[in-house]
Every structure is written in structure tokens, then in C-alpha cells.
């Protein structure tokens, strides 16, 4: 009896051992697989940054704009790639955020300078100096990475292990080698020059002042404004939070219909700006039933609503339909010029024909009295800039934002190629092709890319 128990136990133990070993083996396989991925990321990152440095150096001696443009576009793709690799390594964001920013900005700055070169403008002394500074920082960065790589090779340390806490062998070496090395870089990156140029990651974008004007209002006033925003029924408003430390500070407000007192689960929320008491956005999360009205009717309702709320000169520019809601983009129009930066979005529920969404942050931030100059080049001249095989429509004048947040007056052409439709923007002063967007008409609506 006892013997049998022993046999059974030993079989069970053996079985468990085999299972355990199999688990261990699988575990090691996954570890190795992950480690291989990390190593590849790390070495790719290192090589990318080395090449960024080399290309930045080449710019110092290159003489023609064409060569510059080639080099800049190479820097841009290398930076983008390096950033992708860095963001896939298992390091906390806080330890690499400056390095990430550096890579984004160098890539973006290269793009802006290459555009400048293509327009026939050479690099200025300041820009050359900035490039030299950036070269110095990329040099620091690659030096750190090289030394990290050497340390890891010497101590036989794996990247995957660096993130596991409490590893005994690592405690002896340097537990946070990866992090420490990157923190060293981060510290040095604090001082790299502020880059201001025409690009989305430029330093000036964050510091742009908003054009919203008006007196500061109290929470009570904000609640009153919020309660009267929608007119389909009576609402009571309640402040549920304050919005601060951003571009347009405001009050966060929830709306409930006056009739159902007991309901405290609010479906409508909105933000009212402290300055001027404007509605920044509104969202109604109610269930939408079967559509009863057409898209045209929906657009009409939205237009009327905007007029009533003090936005009379708004032109619907495109729409999209989803879950029974119709989203319409409106752009401000003045003297026949469409100003795309002054944007308001309205959502209409196609079942009841009510307003279920409103978003005016773009309008509130950008809108101001502008001095609209006459275009320097004629419609015909602009048309000659368009590809010979694309069939352009009659253009209209529009102000569009550049990537760096500047505004450019353009001729907007709707252009057909094969079955595809595009919007081509020709700078109305310089005649440069500023931007090309593709218009995609799909089941849900119109998409502009």
C-alpha cells in the first residue's frame, strides 16, 4: 500500500518536473525572442543616430540646394526611424522624453529647411549655427549609446533583464544602466537650442496666444450660458470641474433636463470659456434612433443653429455620417474667402434633428479681424501651375494653415485624376503648390486626407 503511494507520488513528481521544464523552456524562448527584438531596436537606433550625425555634418560642406534637400530628407527619415525604435525600447517615457523630442524636432526642422531650399532660399548663418548645435547634440547622443552598448557587451547584460527588477547579477553591475545612460543624455538635452521654424513641432506652437477676447465670467454666469445653449427643452446646468493650465481655460458643465429631477446620470456635457463665456465644445451622448431626416436637412439645421448662436458667415465644407449622427465641418467665410482655420464642427442627430455635438476650439483660438489682401497672381496663372493632366475646376480663394500654424492665402482647385478627386492649393501670392489633399467619398461621407 505504502509502496504504491510512493510510486504514484514519484510519477506525479516526474510529470510535474517535465511540465515545469517545458514551461521553463517556453519561457526562455519568449525571453530570447523579446531580447532579440530589443537588441535589434537598440542597434538600429544607434546606427540611425550615427547617420543623423553624419548627414548633419555633410550639410556643412554641401554647396547646392539639391544636395541639401537630399540630405535633409535623409535626416528626416533617419530621425523618424530612430524615434520609432527608441519608443519601442522598454524604457520609461519620462527618461527619454527629451531625446524623443530632440529626434522629432531635428526631423521636422530638416523638413522645414528642405522646403525653404526648394523655394530657392539658402540657409542663413543662424540656421547653419543651429545645425552645428544639433550636430553636437547628436554626437553626444551617439557617444552615450556607444558606451552603453560597450558596457552591455562587456557585462553580458541583456536589455530584457534591465527592466526586470531584483535581478541579483544586475544589482552588482548597475541595475539601471539603461535608464542611467538615458538620463545622462536627457540632462544634456535640456540645453539644446529652441527651434523655431515653420513646422508642427516648432517651439512657438505651444506658446501661441489665443485670439479669444472678452471679460472673465464666473461659474454662475457660465452655468446660465450653458443652460440656454440648447433650446429643444429646458435644462439645468451644474459645474463639474474647472479647466485650467491650457490654451482656453473654462468651466466643465453637465446639463440635465429640468423635467427628470431624479436623473443624475448626465448625457450632455460642455465646456464654457472663462474669457468671454463662449461654448468651447458640447457633447450629447444620447442613443440615436432611426434616421428620419436627410443629410441636406441636417446641414440646414446646423446652419440655422450657428446663425442663432452668433456665427453667421459659416460655410459647410464637408460632412460625415456615423451611428445616425451627421458631423458637419463649417469654415468661416469673409469677402468670398474661405478661412479654414476658423473651424466649427456641429453634429446633428438624424432621428430628432437636434444638435448633439458642437466644437469651436479652432474658431475661438484663431478667429480675429484679418487684413485680407488681394492675391498677387491671377486665377489663370494659378491654374497653369497645376499638373497638365489633372482637370481643375474653377478655383475659390481660401486661407489654409501651414504645418507651423501660419496662414497662407491660396487658390483652392478641385482636381480630377481618373476617378480620384483632389484639392490642390496654389499659393495666391507666390504661385507655389502649397498643399494637395485627396478627397475620398465613401459610404459614411467625405474624407479629406
Amino acid at each position: 500500500m505504502k509502496k504504491r503511494l510512493w510510486i504514484l507520488l514519484s510519477i506525479a513528481l516526474l510529470g510535474m518536473g517535465i511540465w515545469g521544464f517545458d514551461q521553463y523552456r517556453k519561457n526562455m524562448q519568449y525571453h530570447l525572442y523579446l531580447e532579440n527584438q530589443f537588441q535589434r531596436m537598440f542597434y538600429d537606433l544607434l546606427v540611425d543616430i550615427e547617420n543623423v550625425q553624419v548627414n548633419l555634418a555633410k550639410l556643412m560642406v554641401s554647396g547646392t540646394p539639391k544636395q541639401n534637400v537630399m540630405t535633409f530628407s535623409e535626416i528626416r527619415s533617419l530621425c523618424y526611424d530612430a524615434q520609432e525604435k527608441l519608443s519601442q525600447l522598454p524604457i520609461d517615457h519620462t527618461n527619454v522624453s527629451k531625446t524623443q523630442k530632440f529626434l522629432s524636432q531635428v526631423g521636422d526642422y530638416s523638413m522645414a529647411l528642405s522646403r525653404k531650399n526648394l523655394e530657392g532660399k539658402p540657409l542663413s548663418t543662424e540656421e547653419m549655427k543651429t545645425l552645428q548645435e544639433l550636430h553636437r547634440y547628436s554626437n553626444i547622443l551617439s557617444q552615450q549609446l556607444i558606451s552603453l552598448q560597450k558596457e552591455m557587451a562587456q557585462n553580458g547584460i541583456k536589455i530584457g533583464e534591465l527592466v526586470q527588477k531584483g535581478n541579483k547579477r544586475l544589482r552588482k553591475a548597475n541595475q539601471n544602466m539603461l535608464t542611467t545612460n538615458f538620463l545622462n543624455v536627457e540632462e544634456k538635452m535640456q540645453k539644446y537650442p529652441k527651434l523655431i521654424y515653420d513646422g508642427p513641432f516648432s517651439e512657438h506652437i505651444e506658446q501661441q496666444k489665443t485670439n479669444l477676447q472678452g471679460k472673465n465670467i464666473t461659474s454662475q454666469q457660465a452655468q446660465k450660458i450653458a443652460a440656454s445653449f440648447l433650446e429643444d427643452q429646458k435644462y439645468r446646468a451644474e459645474e463639474i470641474g474647472e479647466i485650467q493650465n491650457n490654451r482656453i481655460p473654462g468651466y466643465l458643465i453637465a446639463l440635465n433636463p429640468v423635467q427628470d429631477r431624479e436623473r443624475n446620470h448626465s448625457e450632455i456635457s460642455m465646456a464654457v470659456s472663462k474669457k468671454g463665456g463662449k461654448i468651447i465644445w458640447m457633447l450629447n451622448n444620447r442613443e440615436i434612433g432611426k434616421a428620419k431626416i436627410s443629410e441636406e436637412q441636417g446641414i440646414e439645421i446646423a446652419k440655422k443653429f450657428l446663425k442663432k448662436k452668433g456665427y453667421p458667415n459659416m460655410l459647410p465644407t464637408y460632412f460625415e455620417k456615423n451611428d445616425g449622427q451627421l458631423l458637419i465641418n463649417f469654415a468661416y467665410q469673409e469677402d468670398g474667402i474661405i478661412i479654414y482655420t476658423d473651424l466649427i464642427k456641429v453634429k446633428v442627430g438624424l432621428d430628432k434633428g437636434d444638435i448633439v455635438g458642437f466644437e469651436a476650439a479652432g474658431y475661438l483660438h484663431n478667429h480675429r479681424a484679418r487684413n485680407l489682401d488681394l492675391p498677387k497672381i491671377s486665377e489663370e496663372e494659378a491654374q497653369k501651375r497645376i499638373n497638365v493632366f489633372a482637370e481643375p475646376s474653377k478655383p475659390r480663394l481660401a486661407i489654409i494653415p501651414t504645418e507651423g500654424g501660419k496662414e497662407v492665402l491660396c487658390y483652392e482647385f478641385k482636381v480630377q485624376f481618373g476617378q480620384d478627386i483632389f484639392l490642390v492649393y496654389i499659393d495666391a501670392n507666390s504661385g507655389e503648390e502649397q498643399k494637395i489633399l485627396q478627397v475620398l467619398i465613401q459610404g459614411e461621407g467625405i474624407l479629406v486626407i
Binding site: 527629451k98 522629432s104 491650457n246 490654451r247 456635457s269 451622448n285 458631423l327 481618373g418 475620398l440
Partner: protein, 297 residues
Amino acid sequence: MKKTKFIVSITLITVMLMSIIFIDSIDAQNLYWGSRGSEVSEVQRKLKQWGYYTGGIDGVYGAKTYQAIIRFQRKNGLKVDGIVGNQTKRAMGLPTTTTQKAGVFDRIVQIAQQKLKQWGYYDGAVDGIYGSRTYDAVTSFQRKNGLRVDGIIGSETRRALGISENIVSAAYSSTNRGVSRSGDVQLLAMAVHGEARGEPYVGQVAVAAVILNRVKHPSFPNTIAGVIYQPRAFTAVDDGQIYLTPNDSAYRAARDALNGWDPTGGAIYYWNPATATSKWIWTRKPILRIGKHVFAK
């Protein structure tokens, strides 16, 4: 013996060259595999005379003709494509495309002028009149592009300018079928559901907005997937909750955020004060609080 062979070949060449001068009725068009007609016969005869071609002169461009042309092009340092275009014809000594005469209005000239102007070779008027400035522009274009510098807007030059007749090829399919935003919506909805289910709707839109604000921020990856899957960025990604099936509310929140609703007004961080362990996070400037989350810059 050798001498006679030499003389024979010389006479052959002379006869041939002379015959070419009289053949001027050939319609100048590119010949491809499958082309038929007198022009093909002409090419075959030529190639046979020169020993490249061994088949019959039947006026049909087939396998044998193709091989012969390939060999001819390779020997003569031409582009080896099996197409009898102007270059090949010229090398064979056959007449090429009929060309424009100066001073004649032409749609082709007009298109070429526009193209040359766009590319900075021409600064005159786009009027379809082939004048001396157009000539200068065409020749300098040809020189830059390694074409024969003759000032003629022939098929080679047209091709180099990208103004061949049918620029919209049959292979160009509508982009509509190849693009949709459903991938973005799906991924964003998954992240919202994993991170903020049970939060008020505005809080869900806010989480989606933070992800999109990160895409636009220099310190973060530049794609939605890059931001969401950044190691240690979102707990729902690290513990696999992102792979739960999103509900309708998550999809709607994702769509609202993609359409530009940002309740946070530019936040790039959020945390739950009850569970957040990082001290660093409290150094950020809070913008607002919705439900359980604090949103900050």
C-alpha cells in the same frame, strides 16, 4: 576572299541606307510584341540583313522578332526593352515620328510648355507656339535628361516630360477602395475600452484625445499605434485588457476624438490619483479632472 566579303558588306550597307531614304511612308509608332503591319516587316527585313533575325518576314511581332530586337538593342547600347521606339528606329536608320514644325500651334507644344515652365526650363508664354524660347527650353531639358538634343518634342521627350497620351493608365485604380479610417477607430476604441470603460462618456473621449494629442507631440511616437503600444505607457496595454472587445460607447468616443473633440484642451497625460504610484506624474500641471482621471500637460 576577305576583300570580297568586305566589299559585299559595304555595298549591302550602302544599298540599305539608300533604300531607307526612299521609305518615308512608314507610320511612326512604337512597335511592341503583337504589333502587325508593314512597319514590322521593315524592322524584320533590317534585322535579317544585319544577321539578328532568322525568321520569315511576315509583319508580325513575335518571339523571334523580340529576341532579335533585344539582341540588337543590347549590341547598340540602347535601352533593352524590346520596344521599337524612336531610339531603336534611329539606330536602325528607320525614320522616326513626324515632328512639329516651328511656328505651328499645337496642343502638344502647349502642354510641353506648361510642363517645362513648371519645372523651371521655360519662362515664356504658354501659347502652343513653338518659338525660339520653346526651342531653348526643349533642348536644355533634353540635355539635362540625357536625351538626343534635337529640339524635337518626339515620343522620347514626351515620355521624359510625362506627357504621353494616356497618362491615366488602366492600372490606376480608385483610391477610395484602398483607404479607410476604420483601423484608427478600431485601435483607439480598444484603448479607450481598456483604459476607461466605466468612466463617464466625456472621460472616454478625453482618454482618446490624450492619445491623439501624444501623436502630435514631439516627445511621443508619431502614429496612433506607436503611442498606444509604447512600452509602459498604458496599463491596459501592459496587462492585455486592450484586447477586450470595445463597446459602442468606446467606438463613439474614439470617433468623436478623431473628429476633433478634445475635452482636455491639449492634455498629454492622465492618471488615477487613487492608484498612481509615480511621484513624477504629480509634477505635471493638471488641466482638469473627469471621473477618476486627472488630465495634465
